[in-house]
């Protein structure tokens, strides 16, 4: 009997402590995840940041002076920000703290890096003969085109290509989605093979083809090539979007008296706007950054695109000005980054994404 009485009271589980412990564990795992990912992202972010800082502050050579100072300000700022987000729960107080942090960061940046900033590296924007001045005495005609020529060419290439790809792939995607015809299966299978097909291997015959047709050394030729290579992917994406549009919309439009094509234009097209946007953005980015085909198929300097301009300006032919090259690089990369951040949501949803290896 005494033994039984001496038995200990039934154990009560300390839920509070368990909950606290698991919360702590979760918080530490999350913090660890953030740290690891942050460190892993540094090799990506720091070089781009370096490009920006040198473009704004470098003189002749590229230096990392301003970069380290910028990082010295930004990294603690990021750290404090993440602590704030995790620590403070009150929305309004969080906002206020964030604003204060942003102001402090700006002031710190201004103080530490301000004196070194200058716009001298951007002189290529208003000085058309910059390459000749940079690399030696100018010839009577000038050897390098102005950056605005290259910019114009790039813009022309990217936009024309974007419009063509969007238009052609929309048309083809619609037809493949809605119509049956003999050979449709084969056509789709062929598209699939072409989508994965290594287009780069065909660069030699494409060069010869354009030469024989007389489109070598023209932007038109390059545009056609890049459009064609972008098409399989684009057609598939558009077909996917069209497949997702229920056909009763069209049916009802047609029973209301619209012709097939009218139904397409007025009713179905607006439904796939997102797809068209995604395809257009991909095409634009591809055209903007095109290098291999432009380098191979364009010969005259007046046909240069930004990629070639940057490449030749950074080429070390008897020395070059790295600070100015950084500025050109920033000038070139900015549209890509802006476009990418704006449309990023749509792009990451693409499951057939990715064009380069």
């Amino acid at each position: 009997m005494d033994v039984a009485l001496a038995a200990s009271a039934p154990e009560t589980t300390d839920w509070e402590r368990l909950a606290a412990r698991s919360r702590l564990r979760r918080r530490t795992t999350t913090a660890l995840l953030y740290t690891v990912l942050l460190l892993g992202s540094l090799p990506i972010v720091v070089p781009y940041l370096w490009l920006f800082t040198v473009a704004l502050s470098g003189r002749v050579g590229a230096s990392t002076f301003v970069l380290w100072r910028t990082l010295a300000v930004l990294l603690p700022a990021l750290l404090i920000w993440s602590i704030l987000r995790v620590g403070i729960d009150d929305r309004r107080r969080l906002r206020v703290c964030e604003i204060v942090l942003v102001i402090v960061t700006f002031v710190a940046l201004a103080v530490l890096t301000g004196p070194y900033l200058h716009t001298g590296n951007w002189r290529f924007l208003w000085n058309a003969n910059i390459a000749d001045q940079l690399k030696g005495a100018a010839g009577v005609g000038g050897t390098y085109p102005s950056v605005w020529t290259a910019f114009g060419n790039s813009l022309f290439l990217a936009i024309t290509q974007m419009v063509l790809v969007a238009a052609v792939s929309t048309l083809a995607g619609y037809y493949l989605s809605r119509f049956d015809f003999r050979g449709r299966g084969g056509y789709l299978k062929g598209l699939l093979v072409l989508h994965a097909f290594p287009a780069m291997t065909l660069i030699i015959p494409i060069f010869l083809l354009l030469h024989w047709v007389g489109l070598l050394d023209t932007l038109t030729g390059v545009i056609l090539v890049v459009v064609a290579l972008e098409l399989p992917f684009a057609i598939f994406v558009m077909k996917g979007f069209f497949d997702a549009v229920p056909w009763d919309i069209e049916m009802s439009a047609m029973t209301d008296g619209a012709s097939r094509r009218q139904a397409f234009l007025l009713v179905v097209l607006p439904q796939v706007k997102v797809g068209m946007l995604a395809v257009a953005v991909f095409a634009f980015l591809r055209g903007w950054e095109e290098y291999v085909f432009v380098r191979t198929l364009l010969l005259q300097k007046s046909n240069w695109t930004m990629s070639l301009y940057l490449f030749w300006m950074s080429a070390d032919v008897m020395g070059t000005d790295y600070a100015m090259v950084s500025a050109i690089g920033v000038f070139y990369v900015l549209p890509s980054i802006i476009l990418y951040t704006m449309c990023q949501k749509y792009l990451t949803q693409m499951t057939l994404g990715g064009i380069k290896g």
């Binding site: 690399k135 030696g136 010839g139 009577v140 000038g142 050897t143 070390d316 032919v317 020395g319």
Partner: protein
Amino acid sequence: MRHFRFLTAALLAGTTIIGAATAAYAEEVVVKLWSKADRSGPLRAGNIVAAAEPLNAALKAAGSDKTVRVEVFEAPDRGYDADALDIFKAFAVNQGPDLYVAAHEWIGEFAKSGYAMDMSDFVGKNPWAFADVIPVLWDATKYKGKVHAIPQDSEIRMFFYNKDMLRKIGKDEAFIEGLPQLVEKGEFTMQDLSNLAKEVVDKGAAQIGMIHRPNAGPDYLMSFAAFGAKFVDPDSGQLILPKAELKRGLEWYAANAANGITPKNNTSMSWDEIQAAFKTEKAFIFHQGVWAVAEWMVGDAKGANWPNDRKAYFKKIGWIHAPAASKGGQPANLSHPIVYVVNPKSKNANLAAMLVAYATLPYYNTKHAATTAHTAITNGQTSMPDYVNAWYLDAATPMLARSSFIPNHPDFGRYNGILFKALQGVETGRLTPAQAIEFLEDEMTNELKTSVKVVDKLS
């Protein structure tokens, strides 16, 4: 009376008509000049334009009604090889220029295709312009023994060596100042040069013994020529690949890299690094050309300040040819002249040739030579004040006597590029010299096919 008045009227009318007709025939002749837009030689085109002035004066004095105007087309190509190909294309579609600037090694192909006028007679008939041209330069303008172009400029390449470093390791002034003479006489060889460089590095006076350019170029051909390599068969005009001689040259480069005299990654360094290494006195020897003196050696470019005047400069730096390969042999040097070529099928060929004759005069040529550090083409230039003031040119001109030229063969650019790859291979240790020779043979026969003849050894 009426007849007389009628006659006068008719006479007056007639004279007026004839006069007007003659006035209409006082024509302006436009001579089209094609020139590669070269940052290091804007006056190549500029001199021709300026030469129109004395030509027009001479025409007027001779009573001709013609006036000449030069129209310049500046091609944007990066190099003379690409430019030559563009000129060919223009000729093929009948849009060729009347007169053009070209690198001399292309004369063969131009002449073969009938785009380069045979100037031998013209030169003979105009000694006032051409008699004083430095004789050896004509070699660069010949194809099958005939002169097909007029020299426009030249340059000279050399090994620059740092005399201060030699003093630091204890060499006496006699040796230091006498080095160029020893090289000239053939008593100081390539191997001696390597040994000297090694000595300088070993004794701590320099970090790098010898350094050269990081990309393909004519410089290396000097060294190979010093080992006896010839690149073209003078009779057939075909390119030669002399395996034994090139092997010796490659062995020399390989040994330099292996012994720490030349950095193994010389061919992937940047120009800035290389020039700065020599300027900040980390490197003992630098192999390049005379224009480097004007460009960065004097003054404070590339990280150090060197004297601007002749005496102080030569107290610090000396110049030598590529030494002979073995004692008693000949040192070698290299020059790469640019030339003017006249299109024989042009209507204005003679006027174009006359423009070239005027542009060859010392007054015009020195303006180009002195401002862009190219060497003179006539002996008379060397005593002009502008030329003398460009003292580095004056000092370099005697070295022209030793210079050879790269062959007048259109495939030579490719040849040179492949040779550079082999050199890169042995310097970085990827290829042994024997493997490099195999590589050369493979690549050259595949790429140049019948243009090149492989020989085991030059006799």
